[in-house]
Each structure stands twice: as structure tokens, then as C-alpha cells.
């Protein structure tokens, strides 16, 4: 299980479209060998098919696909967009933070989501993620196991 480890976080991503942003966040998962490249395409296909429903809260998008689309290990990456990107969500646009979720069928998937919820259910955490200068600055709010 990989939860926002150092190599899964990029605080300075320049993306000009939702697909570009999803691809950048997914690429971190692929580079860490948590998902196959096909999984990134599956996340983008899901966006095209189901729309931006995964923009779950103001400025937050959590793209994902199905475990069988190419997940090797339950993992979550995060990118912060230099310029906010409009995903087409009626309430939560524009998106500033994109968390790519490698959804597995294991218990780890549940643990991963619980940690993500602990992180994102507090507004001050989100404000901090929008402002931090370095990965080091994020550590206090990432939480333990």
C-alpha cells in the first residue's frame, strides 16, 4: 500500500485540461509501479463516460478506474495544479488538487480510503495542501498508519 509517498506527490504540475491532469496524476502511480499504463487510460475513459462526478469536494478530484483495469498495488498519488483546471463540475470547479486512486479489491483499499478521508475531511488540511512549499511541509497532516 502506498499513500502519498514522496514519489507519489508533485506540487507543481502544469496541466491545461482534465485529461492532462488525470494523466499526470496517474503517471505518478505508473512510475511507482502501482498501476499499469492501461489504468491511466481507463481513468480517462471513465471521465469521458461518466463525467466529472469524481470531483468530490471543492477543488478536489479523485479520478480512478476499476481494479481489473491494471492495479498492481493499492496506492494514491497527488498532484497540485499550478493553474486551476475546469472539469465541468456544477459545484466544485475549478480543480486544484488531483488524487489518483489505484483501486484494489484488498483490505488495503479500504485502509487507503480511510486515510484519504482523514486527510480530506478537514478544511484546514486542504488549505494547507494548497499552500505548502514542499513535500516535507505536508508530512504533519499525512497521518500514520
Amino acid at each position: 500500500m502506498k499513500f502519498l509517498e514522496r514519489d507519489l506527490v508533485d506540487l507543481n504540475v502544469d496541466a491545461d485540461s482534465p485529461e492532462h491532469a488525470i494523466r499526470a496524476a496517474g503517471q505518478l502511480l505508473a512510475d511507482a509501479d502501482a498501476v499499469s499504463p492501461a489504468y491511466i487510460n481507463a481513468m480517462i475513459q471513465s471521465y469521458r463516460k461518466n463525467g466529472p462526478y469524481f470531483v468530490l469536494a471543492p477543488h478536489l478530484a479523485i479520478p480512478h478506474a476499476r481494479p481489473e483495469d491494471g492495479v498492481k498495488e493499492a496506492a494514491i498519488s497527488m498532484i497540485r495544479l499550478e493553474k486551476p483546471v475546469v472539469f465541468g463540475h456544477s459545484a466544485h470547479d475549478p480543480v486544484r488538487l488531483v488524487f489518483a486512486l489505484g483501486a484494489s479489491t484488498s483490505d488495503e483499499h479500504l485502509m487507503l480510503l480511510k486515510r484519504l478521508m482523514q486527510l480530506l475531511s478537514r478544511k484546514e488540511h486542504i488549505d494547507m495542501l494548497l499552500k505548502v512549499q514542499s513535500y516535507q511541509d505536508m508530512l504533519p497532516i499525512l497521518g500514520g498508519k
Binding site: 471513465s46 462526478y53 480510503l113 478521508m117 475531511s121
Partner: protein, 89 residues
């Protein structure tokens, strides 16, 4: 009482919603059978309530269940307000 938490794929988003809904139901002292699934499975599943967002609710228009809309899946206050409003009716 059966409640479905619904997202596009039934993998991540709906599970997040379900965990928050279960927390809120606990606080409200309500016992319910809560499941999470994708929107197409939900459309053919019997339920009393379906919790989803307005983006996906469009595809569930002809479902018998009462649709409860939640826009911020992380906001337990919003979920609580929405549930209280519908469950008391």
C-alpha cells in the same frame, strides 16, 4: 431500510460516501443496510434510498427509491443535514 451509495464505478467514490454515511447514521442512531455500487447496478437494485450527487442522479431518474443528493462526499455535516431531512419525512 436499505440505502445505496452510488458512484460511476462503484469502487472508490461510493465507498468513501458509504463510510461517511455510516458514520452519520451512527450519530443519528439509525440502523440501515448500507451498500455501495456503481450507477448501472443501482438502477436495477431495490432500495429505500439512494445517495448520490446531482451529476449521477440524472441516470437514476426512474428509480423507485428516494434520491438523496450529496454534493460534497467528504462533508459529514452536509450528509447529516441531507439524511435528517429525508429520513424524518
Amino acid at each position: 431500510m436499505k440505502i445505496l451509495c452510488v458512484c460511476g464505478l462503484g469502487q472508490g467514490t461510493s465507498l468513501i460516501l458509504r463510510m461517511n454515511v455510516e458514520t452519520v447514521l451512527n450519530e443519528l442512531g439509525v440502523t440501515a443496510d448500507v451498500e455501495h455500487m456503481d450507477v448501472s447496478s443501482a438502477s436495477s437494485m431495490q432500495a429505500d434510498y439512494i445517495i448520490t450527487n446531482s451529476e449521477l442522479a440524472k441516470s437514476l431518474g426512474d428509480h423507485d427509491a428516494t434520491i438523496i443528493l450529496v454534493e460534497n462526499y467528504f462533508d459529514q455535516e452536509e450528509i447529516k443535514t441531507a439524511l435528517e431531512k429525508h429520513l424524518s419525512q
